[in-house]
Amino acid sequence: MVAVRQREHRQHFPRPGWVEHDPMEIWANTRRTAAQVLADVGGSGDVVALGIANQRETTVVWDRDTGRPVTRALVWQDTRTADLVSELAARPDAPLVAERSGMAIAGYFSGPRLRWILDAVPRARERAERGELLFGTMETWLIWNLTGGPDGGVHVTDVTNASRTLLMDVRTCRWDPDLLDFFGIPAAMLPEIRPSVGVLGVATALSPGLPIAGALGDQQAALFGQACFAPGEAKCTYGTGSFLLQNTGTELVHTRSGSISTVAYQLAGEPVHYALEGSIAVAGALVQWLRDGLGLIATAPEVETLARTVTDNGGCYVVPAFSGLLAPHWRGEARGLVAGLTSYVTKGHLARAVLEATGWQTRDVVQAMAADSGLSLPALRVDGGMTTNNLLMQFVADALDTPVVRPMVGETVSLGAAYAAGLAVGVWSDIEALRRNWHRAAQWTPTAARAQALSAEYPKWERAVQLSIAWGAP
C-alpha cells in the first residue's frame, strides 16, 4: 500500500429507523480523496486503473440531465421499507422473488428501497418511465459521475451489486421483467449489468484516460482481496457487523438453511462465480455497547483485558439481537437478552459473553452454509478491526473447530477493488498471481479439548437465541 486517504461522510437519521446519505457529498468526497491519492503518488503516471468497492444495497435515484438526486440515498441499514416488504411478501406471487433473485424478500436489499422512492417522490415513476430518472447503487452513482455525469456519464452496475437488488435473475445475471413487474420498477431507469472485473468506463473527472476497471460490493471485494477463489474458501469480516462469504464456484447453490446465495464476482468473458453469504448484524457493535452503553470499558480493545480477568463466561450468554437477527435466523422481531445471570457473574464474565456472542454467531452461520453448500471449510480467513482481539479469534477457531487465519494486508476491501482493476488491465496475469500475493500474518489453531467443550456448550447458545426470538414475538 503506497497511499491512503479517507474522508467520513455524514449519516442522516431523519426518523427512527431511517438512515440516509447525501450522494452529492459522497461524490465530492470521492473525487477529492481520489485526487489526493493521485497527488500522493506523484500524479496519475503510474496509476493504470481505478477500482471501486462500495457499501451494498444503498439506493440512489437521480435526474440524468441535472445530475441531482431526487432524494437522499437510502442506506443499507434503513428499515423504512418494513411495511412495504410485509405487504409484498404476503402477495401470492411472492415466491417468485426467491426463486429468481436467489434471495427472500427483505428490506435489507435495494429493490424495495427503489420502490419506496418511486412511491414517495412526486412524479418519480412517470419520470422514470420516460427515462429522465436513473437508479443506481453507490458504485453506479460514482461511475456515472466519474465518467462525465450529465455529460456522457456511463450508466452501469457491477453484477455483485446488481445481485443485491432482488431485481436480477441470479442465473442469467439480467434484469428480470417479472421481478420488475412485481416491484413496479420501470426498466428504463436501470443501469446495464457488467462483470466486476473489466473496463467499465474512463474516469475523465479524475484523469484523462484512466480506466475504471473493477467494481464490487464491499463484502465481495473483501472475498476477492482475501484471494478466496476456490470453492469452499471463505472469509469473515469482523466490523460493526460481520459478513461471512464462502466461494461456491460457478454453480448456484440452493439455500434452505438461512444463508443466502449471492454473486461473488465475474471476470469479463467468464462465467459468474457465486458465494454463500451470512450477515451478522451485531458483532463489534456489541463491544461498542459495552463501552458506550454500559461504560464498562474505555476503548473497544479493552474488552479483551476485561474478559481475561475470568477464565470462562460464568454461565452467561448475550444475544445481541438489537434490531432482530439476520443470518441464519432472519427474525426481525428478536430482541437482545442476557441469559444465565447469577450473583456469581461479574463484568469480566459479561465481557467474555460479549466476545463469545460473535464467535457463536459465526458458528451459526458456518453451520447453515455447510448444510446448504455441502462444502467443508478448510480455514476461515478473517479481517476487520476485531481480528486484533486474540481471545476472540482463538474462540472462533475453537467454536468452529477450524483454523482461523489473518492476512498481512488488513485493508481487504480496498485490496479487492485494486485486484479487480489490476487484473482487468493486466497488472496481474491471472488469479493465481493474486493468490501468491496473499500472506498469512497470524493463525489461530483450534485445540481438540476446547473444540469439544465448546460443541457441548453450543446448545445453550442456541437456547438463548430461541429465547431472544420468543421475547420479541408479538
Binding site: M1, A298, T299, A300, P301, E302, V303, E304, T305, G385, T388, N389, N390, M408, V409, G410, H439, R440, A441, A442, Q443, W444, T445
Partner: protein
C-alpha cells in the same frame, strides 16, 4: 476545586486567573476542563467561553486541542463538550490489547516489508511479555507467541524495555547488547541480540513511546542472525531503518511523538 469565590465567572464556573510565571494557555485549558467537567456535558463553545471569560475563538482553539489529545469529547449532534476518555486514562498504564490494536497496521507493514517476523513486547516485572506477533510472511508453519515471556537480559526487546524502565537508572549492568549498555541503547534508540537468546537467531528492536513520551513497549523483527546483521555484527541499515521507522510510527499513533 480550590478556586475562591472571587475567581468564579458569571455563571459560577471557575474563571481564568493568571498567576505570574505560569503558562497562560495551560491555565486556560485547565479552566476549560474544569468547566466542561462540572457542566456534565451540557455546554457548547459559546457557554464555555462565557464561563471562563475568554473570546470564543480562543476557547474554540483550546477546545480543538483538548479534543485532539482526547481530554474532551464533542457530541456530534449538539456540539456540547464532555470530559474525554484521555482524562480518565491519565495515570493508568496503556492497555496491552489497546496497544496491539493500535500498532497492528504498522506491525503488518513492517513484517511485509522486512520479510521477517515482528513482535511487540511490554515489560512485566522482570520479564518481557510478547503482546503482538506477526508471522514471517512466507506462509510457513508458525505459532503465535502472544503471551510468551522473554528474558530481558538476552533479548533485544527486553534490552530496549529495561534500558528505558524507570527503575533501571542509573545503568544496571549486564543488560546491554554486548557492545552497548543501557545508556547507549537509550541514546541511539535501538538494541539487538545476536544469538544470545537462541543460537543462530537474532532480533533488532526499538522503543515505542506512549502519550507523554514514556517508553511503553518495544517493537522488533527477529530472524536468522546472518539475515539481520552483517559480518561485523552491525544491523543491516535497511532493516534497522524499517524497525525504527515503524516504532516511531506506532509512537505517533499513541501520541508519543516520533522519537
Amino acid at each position: 476545586m480550590s478556586h475562591s469565590r472571587e475567581a468564579r465567572g458569571p455563571r459560577g464556573w471557575p474563571s481564568v486567573r493568571l498567576v505570574p510565571g505560569t503558562v497562560q494557555s495551560v491555565e486556560r485549558a485547565a479552566a476549560i476542563l474544569q468547566v466542561v467537567a462540572a457542566s456534565g456535558g451540557t455546554l457548547g463553545v459559546t457557554d464555555i467561553a462565557e464561563a471562563v471569560g475568554l473570546a470564543k475563538t480562543t476557547t474554540h482553539s483550546l477546545l480543538r486541542t483538548l479534543l485532539h489529545v482526547g481530554f474532551v469529547d464533542q457530541d456530534r449532534e449538539t456540539g456540547h463538550y464532555a470530559v474525554g476518555a484521555g482524562v480518565l486514562r491519565l495515570g493508568s498504564h496503556l492497555d496491552v490489547n489497546e496497544l496491539r490494536a493500535r500498532s497492528s497496521n504498522w506491525a503488518d507493514a513492517l513484517a511485509a516489508r522486512s520479510g521477517h517476523a515482528v513482535r511487540l513486547a511490554v515489560l512485566d516485572g522482570a520479564e518481557a511479555v510478547v503482546v503482538h506477533h506477526v508471522f514471517r510472511p512466507d506462509d510457513s508453519a508458525q505459532v503465535l507467541e502472544m503471551g510468551a515471556t522473554l528474558p530481558v537480559a538476552t533479548t533485544a526487546l527486553g534490552r530496549v524495555l529495561v534500558a528505558h524502565s524507570l527503575g533501571s537508572r542509573p545503568d544496571r549492568t549486564g543488560t546491554g547488547d554486548g557492545t552497548a549498555g543501557p545508556a547507549e541503547v537509550r541514546a541511539r534508540g535501538w538494541a539487538t541480540d545476536r544469538g544470545e537468546h537462541r543460537p543462530g537467531r537474532g532480533c533488532i528492536a526499538a522503543p515505542v513511546r506512549g502519550s507523554g513520551g514514556l517508553v511503553v513497549a518495544a517493537l522488533g523483527i527477529n530472524g536468522p542472525v546472518t539475515a539481520l546483521f552483517d559480518g561485523r555484527g552491525t544491523p543491516r541499515a535497511r532493516l534497522l531503518g524499517m524497525v525504527t521507522d515503524a516504532a516511531a510510527a506506532v509512537s505517533r499513533e499513541l501520541g508519543g511523538g516520533g522519537a
